[in-house]
Symmetry: C2
Subunit: 409 residues, 2 copies
């Protein structure tokens, strides 16, 4: 099966244990998929299953976590963590101290963010932290009208909805940062590497009264070269994209200003009265294990191998085609790897010829992706997740030629 091959032919610098684990897990995926497929076949005779490459559900890392087996198992008794409080004397009173410690250790090891003297705020994923940061940054201005929130196209498809869903009077979505030309205060969301296109980004507005919110969910070695420790006012990270534990709903902010950090905590206090202690305890164990394994043969090495392999396969499948394009990324020196590496983003930002309805075309081939309009772009673009299961990714590659053929007509 394709996905087993995929696991076996992984990059040669991947250690044997990890490769074996990946192969075993890929085989399990195949079995699971076969069961799913036979179920679907029974229900809809002769139909082919729909592949979901829409969400960035990071099941790509499952093989690694299966390989570590019982080593990172956590146990929680019924009498543990009853209280709302994890650290009553800290400004972030719901943050488990061990998690704060492991977050700081990991950033120091990877070298992707300055954490010394910074304030860590834990959230229920980085979506909640974006809202907490908007609340914290908008609040001191006490604006008679809501502050404008912008991000350069293509921007993360959820930003408009996250900003506007409760019609807040504190902040409102303002669209493409490139088009912002007002003198009023604004908040610019800077996503780097960018979702959906993987580009390394800085702010684009650069006007007076601007505040920046850096979403660094993908600034980890499996996706891009770590060129310097990021050192911005508010930086957001999430376990989902760092380790693949999306089900845990753990994100964190690294914040320079104590008052901003306190207001973010206030938001999370009102919104959800903190963050699950069970999820924090597990996240702490997982980060501890990653740091303990260090830079060689560990999680990020697995992540780099598997992402590089997927991108290689995708580029091979598109080679010679003039109807679909994906971005190319320059090699950059990675301080973590101590070598030049390319980018292997979490998503492929696929471009067809202008006028093509690419999401619709892929849907007709039973491939669910997210159309360009969700990202503020034309509909000849789609984002497809590179983070799903091996088997799904390989099935996608098998169906790609027919899509290319269809579009070439």
């Amino acid at each position: 099966m394709g996905s087993v091959e995929g696991a076996v032919v992984m990059e040669s610098n991947m250690n044997a244990a990890v490769a074996a684990a990946a192969a075993a897990s890929a085989a399990a995926d195949v079995e699971e998929r076969n069961n799913d497929e036979s179920m679907i076949t029974n229900l809809h005779l002769h139909s082919i299953p729909t592949l979901n490459l829409d969400q960035g559900d990071p099941t790509v890392y499952e093989a690694y976590w299966k390989s570590v087996g019982e080593n990172v198992k956590i146990s929680i008794s019924a009498s543990q963590s009853l209280s709302y409080f994890a650290n009553p004397n800290s400004f972030c009173w719901f943050l488990v101290p061990k998690l704060e410690q492991e977050i700081k250790i990991l950033h120091s090891l990877v070298g992707n963010a300055v954490v010394d003297g910074r304030h860590i705020v834990v959230g229920n994923g980085s979506s909640q932290l974006i809202q907490a940061a908007l609340y914290a940054l908008a609040d001191p201005l006490d604006p008679p009208t809501p502050i404008t929130v912008v991000s350069a196209v293509p921007f993360y498809s959820c930003y408009p909805q996250i900003t506007d869903y409760v019609r807040s009077g504190l902040y409102k979505w303002g669209g493409d940062a490139n088009a912002y030309d007002k003198d009023e205060a604004y908040i610019e969301l800077v996503t780097s590497p960018n979702n959906p296109d993987g580009e390394i980004r800085g702010p684009v507005v650069k006007r007076a009264n601007g505040m920046l919110l850096h979403d660094l969910a993908y600034y980890w070695p499996q996706y891009t070269a770590i060129t310097a420790p990021a050192d911005h006012d508010v930086m957001l990270f999430t376990l989902s994209k760092c380790t693949g534990h999306a089900g845990s709903r753990i994100g964190w902010a690294v914040v320079k200003d104590a008052e901003v950090a306190k207001k973010m905590v206030k938001f999370i206090e009102i919104n959800t009265i903190g963050v699950s202690k069970e999820a924090q305890l597990r996240a702490a164990s997982i980060l501890e294990m990653i740091s303990a394994n260090g830079c060689s043969g560990g999680f990020f090495e697995f992540g780099q191998s598997v992402m590089a392999e997927r991108w290689k396969k995708l580029r091979e499948a598109l080679r010679g085609s003039e109807v679909l394009e994906v971005p190319h990324f320059p090699l950059k020196y990675c301080n973590y790897n101590r070598d030049f590496i390319g980018s292997n983003p979490a998503y492929a930002w696929v471009k067809a010829k202008p006028g093509v309805q690419l999401e619709k075309a892929m849907n007709e081939e039973r491939i669910r992706v997210r159309g360009g309009t969700s990202f503020g772009c034309p509909s000849n673009y789609v984002r497809l997740s590179m983070l799903g299961k091996h088997e799904d990714f390989d099935l996608f590659l098998k169906r790609l030629p027919s899509i290319i053929q269809l579009l070439a007509v």
Copy 2:
């Protein structure tokens, strides 16, 4: 020590194992407190420690959970629950099926809510579910002005802030439900038993265009008689007040209308992309254990004993005083106990003579409580938590005579 006595003299219908566990845990609390006190004494010579009876942090149940020991321990491996999805084919795609099942089993056993044919929505605590319900109920109206949210005084102190903190254009806080006399649509929050005063409540506005949101966090046998299964449009519950696991941030809504339930799920999707799977798995284990133990010698029996004991002690301490009053509750037939029982609410709603600044007076005695104004009432009222640690509660009782003396002057 007071708290050990407290545990030992618990009501005679409490089984021996539970009583022993309570005594052991109370002793541990004493040790912890002694350590805390000696630390504080070193820092602030001759000062007495501040007792926190402000938050409803439900550590009162710790003794029970210590007594069950390893029996309800959950273990989660690193490869479990990576995905955002817990049940991809359900409308509430982030709800762990086992938790849904255990929620329904427990409600059926206790008899406090109709769950057959109802939709369960899990949230990060019931605070998030309140917001999800406001979003769901306000949304279909698409109002040019935000819908008014009211609750009868004394109302839960967090309702105004939860409603207004992001200045939503969908809903706004409207204060005391008794004063609502408009013809426009409104949402009434009905809390029963009520926080802070323990009263059993129904809606008070009863006008056309009204929508009801029932917060039933305290409708469990340890607080009040279960007189009938509640059967309202939207009912909110939380693990914090049911079992004492506040640190887990697990709440759930029981919802009649499928469209309302779907919109609540949409809110939680945008707000936090679901709810921690670790917390849900642990909650499922805990609820399963409670249901397995049934109606005798189990968690609710412990809860009833410990709450009844605390209320008995508080009433004894206030006996003969004319300066402080707490509410009295009639005996009611409890379907769960199959007997007449009194109410032993999670909070004591304490009233002093008009004009007394009761929160201030208690603060001066180093007792942190929540003042009446937070609940829409005069400042001669305070809410004090009955849910804290044994030792804190007993220290409070020891200091109560001096407060009474002070107020009697």
